[in-house]
């Protein structure tokens, strides 16, 4: 007898474990549009000319949110493209809040003026992630291809922070901004924002490999893998374990939704399981989902090259392996490079 509560990271982990056991999808990344007002050099999203016509209408998105809520989904992350390019973005986000979702928004921030910041703050989002790719306008705008975008993105972050919104500065560390990532961390912290940086650059969704030229070389990657501000290592402690098993964090507890409503295990792994417009509950695609995950797990575990000496340092992404190396269950050249360097750093 007696009500009690478990709190913090332990509660989050326990909730995801319970959701997996109960077959519930707790978290969904919802790509509202592939359209974007920036042209980032490293971006993997490829929009078609008729992109707006292919997107779900507002009423279809509302119904999709109903299906997710009825299926037990709690976290919904609106992403893109640039989600605020949709004229109905706030109607969608407000609907999500009405349906008791914990809402995250991933945006480039360039469309967030003072009025938009007020509306976002009124949503009480769990987090707004703003993409910033440099500590200077020259570097950031050089990557986004849009003069003035740095100023707008940083102004958006400050406007949201001033309204008490949790802001995370999100960045991809690449050759063009490698020299500034430290200053960008300083800038984020000085503003009162959190930061999440990653050095993984993906090929384009259509297979285009141009973004891969921007990847860090081994010396640069080595430096980032030894930077405690990026690895999360505490002084005197080993770096946190990066190995997330043969299929990363894939499970039925998380999913990705495309602008057309296609359902994927993850936005990086485009194995279509169904379309949300055609179902009343995510349980209807559960069998296809389980087949994908168990098939990937089995085949990867049987893959001799996965069981190599660097396995415990391997943060392999099946989606990246498929896009870049041709198989979601085979080796990922990017993960292999990073794993070897992590092992070397560990031996120092």
């Amino acid at each position: 007898m007696g009500g009690s509560e478990e709190r913090g990271g332990g509660a989050l982990e326990a909730a995801f474990e319970k959701a997996k056991r109960a077959g519930l999808t707790l978290s969904v990344h919802f790509e509202l549009t592939r359209r974007c007002n920036l042209r980032c050099r490293h971006c993997y999203v490829c929009g078609a000319d008729d992109e707006a016509r292919r997107e779900m209408s507002a009423s279809q998105v509302f119904r999709a949110l109903d299906v997710l809520a009825d299926s037990g989904t709690l976290f919904v992350t609106f992403t893109g493209g640039e989600p605020l390019l949709r004229g109905d973005f706030f109607e969608i986000a407000e609907r999500a809040v009405e349906k008791n979702f914990a809402v995250r928004i991933f945006t480039n921030g360039t469309l967030i003026d003072e009025a938009a910041a007020d509306r976002i703050a009124a949503l009480n989002p769990l987090e707004v992630g703003i993409s910033v790719y440099g500590a200077t306008a020259e570097t950031h705008d050089g990557i986004t291809g849009a003069a003035g975008s740095f100023e707008k993105s940083v102004a958006a972050a400050r406007a949201l922070l001033a309204r008490g919104v949790t802001v995370t500065v999100k960045s991809v560390i690449m050759k063009p901004n490698f020299g500034e990532y430290g200053a960008l961390i300083d800038m984020a912290l000085e503003m009162g924002a959190k930061y999440v940086f990653d050095a993984t650059v993906f090929p384009r969704d259509d297979g285009g490999r141009e973004p891969l030229e921007l990847r860090l070389d081994d010396d640069m990657l080595w430096e980032t893998l030894r930077d405690d501000r990026l690895t999360g290592r505490k002084p005197g402690k080993p770096a946190p374990d990066v190995c997330r098993g043969p299929v990363c964090d894939l499970s039925t507890a998380t999913a990705g939704l495309s602008p057309e409503g296609d359902i994927f295990p993850c936005l990086q792994l485009r194995k279509r399981m169904g379309n949300i417009k055609e179902i009343d509950s995510l349980s209807e695609v559960r069998d296809a989902w389980m087949d994908i995950i168990s098939g990937l797990t089995r085949e990867t575990e049987n893959e001799k090259r996965y069981n190599c000496e660097y396995k415990k340092y391997c943060a392999r992404c099946p989606g990246l392996a498929e896009l870049e190396d041709g198989s979601a269950t085979g080796p990922s050249q990017w993960a292999c490079r990073a794993a070897r360097l992590r092992a070397k750093a560990k031996m120092e």
Binding site: M1, G2, E5, R7, A11, A15, G72, L74, F101, L126
Partner: protein
């Protein structure tokens, strides 16, 4: 337990997001960034927080559902709601008045 405790009315913090997972309420507060997982008793109490029910009425429902004494149920409900209020997951929004109208 004082009658004033019994008459308190609580409401869920409007910004909190929640779902029930396998009979247990999972709550996320954007204000604190914290996640909370309630046990079945806590989940039952949480489900009764409609902004109108008093702690006393919730305790009566709890006593009936879990087959416990009224006093013990009220003590549990009051203690739990105090705890949730401290975590900013609920707020006391008033008291049901027992006074006459003249």
């Amino acid at each position: 337990m004082s009658s004033s405790e019994k008459d308190k009315v609580y409401a869920r913090a409007p910004e909190c997001a929640f779902r029930e997972i396998d009979g247990e309420a999972f709550i996320v507060s954007p204000k604190t960034g914290e996640a909370h997982l309630l046990n079945p008793t806590g989940t039952f109490i949480w489900s009764k927080l409609d902004g109108e029910a008093t702690a006393g009425r919730i305790a009566d429902a709890l006593a009936a559902e879990f087959d416990v004494g009224a006093q013990a149920a009220l003590a549990d409900v009051s203690e739990f709601l105090d705890e949730l209020a401290g975590l900013e997951l609920v707020a006391e929004i008033g008291k049901e008045s027992n006074e006459g109208s003249y």
